[in-house]
């Protein structure tokens, strides 16, 4: 299988303030994403999970090339796209290939655009479609997403939550992308509607041969949709592997606590470990300590003196924890 998207040790740091003229020290930096490597194969769905502030959104913005990387390379279809500055990527040949579905379509769609305008906008700007061709493509995308054509003239506030979600998806698939980045696409929806949207996403993937990066904090939903899952903590990947395997037999204490914290219809686990406290500061973290150290329920001395490397614990299943050594 050929990788569609490949990230090699990608980092993003945001400096806090500028370097003073004669100052010796660099300004402190927020380490938003640190040395993340991941691969998305054609037709694959990769889930990206972690708490707020773990760098999911920054990573997504790096992949969609809305932000420049500090270090590392991003390959899309064997072409290095991290070399193209973000401000030029809007006119790049691969721009239409990587599209994004944003969280809460009610907030992310321009309120003064009708559904048709919203879907047509990327087609106009990226593919230069006009007139009848544009119209046909808008209707094609709407139909694929199960959005009745009669609703195309409506504004976002005149649509239900489920219909808005469909507009957001139609807008993203209009340009015939190969990779779709979905940022919590169902977070704003009721469960009854969430199911239909999830099924739509699975159907579109099969029909159009798409690959997904699925960002979500709802692990039950990630498990339903994803082939592989990547768990992030404070900017680093702590565990990745086949979704079912990671959920059934997590090998990193953070993943364990995360899964244990998800409410279950079957009732609470009696032995659920609780993760207390907040993550440490992402500003200039100690490079020689596990980022989970201090909050980890099973940490020991070595966690504070050496950063655990991401190691294969089972075929295709990686975890970064000293306990697996």
């Amino acid at each position: 299988m050929t990788p569609l998207l490949e990230l090699d040790a990608v980092s993003k740091r945001f400096p806090l303030g500028r370097r003073r003229l004669f100052a010796k020290a660099l300004p402190p930096e927020v380490h938003a994403v640190s040395e993340v490597s991941l691969t998305v194969h054609a037709g694959e769905t990769v889930g990206l999970v972690g708490e707020s502030g773990c760098g999911k959104s920054t990573l997504v913005r790096l992949i969609t090339r809305l932000l420049d990387t500090t270090e590392g390379t991003i390959w899309f279809d064997r072409r290095e796209i991290s070399g193209v500055p973000a401000r030029f990527f809007a006119r790049d040949t691969n721009r239409a290939d990587i599209q994004m579905v944003f969280q809460d379509a009610g907030e992310s769609i321009n309120p003064r655009f009708t559904a048709a305008d919203a879907i047509a906008d990327p087609l106009r700007k990226l593919l230069g479609l006009r007139g009848a061709a544009l119209q046909a493509r808008v209707e094609e995308a709407a139909t694929q997403c199960g959005l009745p054509l009669a609703l195309l003239g409506r504004y976002p506030h005149q649509l239900s939550g489920g219909q808005r979600a469909r507009v957001g998806i139609a807008r993203a698939i209009g340009t015939h992308p190969r990779l779709l980045v979905l940022d919590e696409p169902t977070a704003a929806l009721d469960v009854s509607v969430q199911v239909t949207v999830l099924k739509l996403l699975q159907q579109l993937k099969a029909e159009l041969g798409l690959s997904y990066i699925f960002v979500s904090h709802d692990l039950n939903v990630v498990r339903l949709l994803c082939d592989r899952v990547v768990v992030m903590y404070l900017g680093r990947v702590v565990e990745s592997g086949p979704a079912q395997q990671v959920f059934d037999a997590p090998r990193h204490p953070y993943t364990k606590s995360l899964i244990a914290a998800v409410p279950r219809l079957e009732g609470a686990r009696p032995e659920a470990p609780r993760l207390v406290g907040d993550p440490r500061s992402p500003i200039d973290p100690d490079p020689n300590a596990c980022r989970f150290h201090g909050r980890c329920p099973v940490g020991f001395d070595r966690c504070g003196t050496a950063m655990p490397a991401l190691r294969e614990v089972a075929p295709g299943h990686l975890a970064a924890c000293h306990l697996n050594d």
Binding site: D190, V191, R223, L224, P263, R274, D278
Partner: protein, 324 residues
Amino acid sequence: MSDALSVQDLSVAFHTRAGVVHALDRVSFTVGAGETLALVGESGSGKSVTAYAIMGLLEAAGQVTSGRALLGETDLLAASPASLARIRGKRVAMIFQNPRTALNPIRPVGTQIADVMRRHGGATWFNARARAIEALRAVGIPDPARRTRAYPFELSGGMCQRVMIAIAMAARPDLLIADEPTTGLDVTTQAVVMDLIAEMAAQTGMATILITHDLALAAERARRIAVMHAGHVVEVAETATLLARPMHPYSARLIAATPTAAGTLEELQSVPGALPDLRGAAIPACRYAARCDRRQADCGETLHPHEAEPGHSIACHHPLGVAA
């Protein structure tokens, strides 16, 4: 078990430019002392309106048209504004969704807790600050003396919700209404916040109404669940009973739509249809009838709330698991 709160036939109507919206219709449920009851439903089902009506916090357009909400001997719906002001915060407290916006953004959190301590908690001007520090420590905030001077924007979402809980618990209320207390928080934080609420309830024997759209959260945290749909309570039962043997078709649909820890996407089923228009007088007697596949002629005529078996109430003519 004595009832901490008994809501009987609560109806609420909103007067809008587009007509009268019958948001709640004869809502009835009880919460026992020390018990946690979950109000579960989708957006628009009337969960929050129920809470606001009980607390007397409905906006001006909303009007309670019938019903009683008995807190012990006191009917909260008939209480005068002055007596309600004494009850709110002291005997009934509420935690709101999105704690960061529910707190006052321009006052330190310690001051906000101290206010409630002086108003309802029997603290004096001199010891209010010490009591506030004590309250922050009780909800598990590290370094509470320093945190009293923090503003809400300086604290994380989970911390802000702990402050809200500290404020709610200031006067040791008999009843806590938690309106989506963990929406917008991470699952790890959600678990800790829910643990804290349960711990506080266990310490003081306080009853809790947990309002949530998340059936799984309700399943883990509540002893009983009341399912709401379009302003009706359609089913009330003990949690295990409701999940194993739902009798109302909507409850069954809601359970079938909720992702579980096992199971596949194919097994999940959506709830067909949408909420009915609650304006005007032409609302069907059973508001779920139009979405229901067990609908018969009598569904449009009366609602038929009844106790199907001890402790298991439904509002349905043709419940599941009963020969028709």
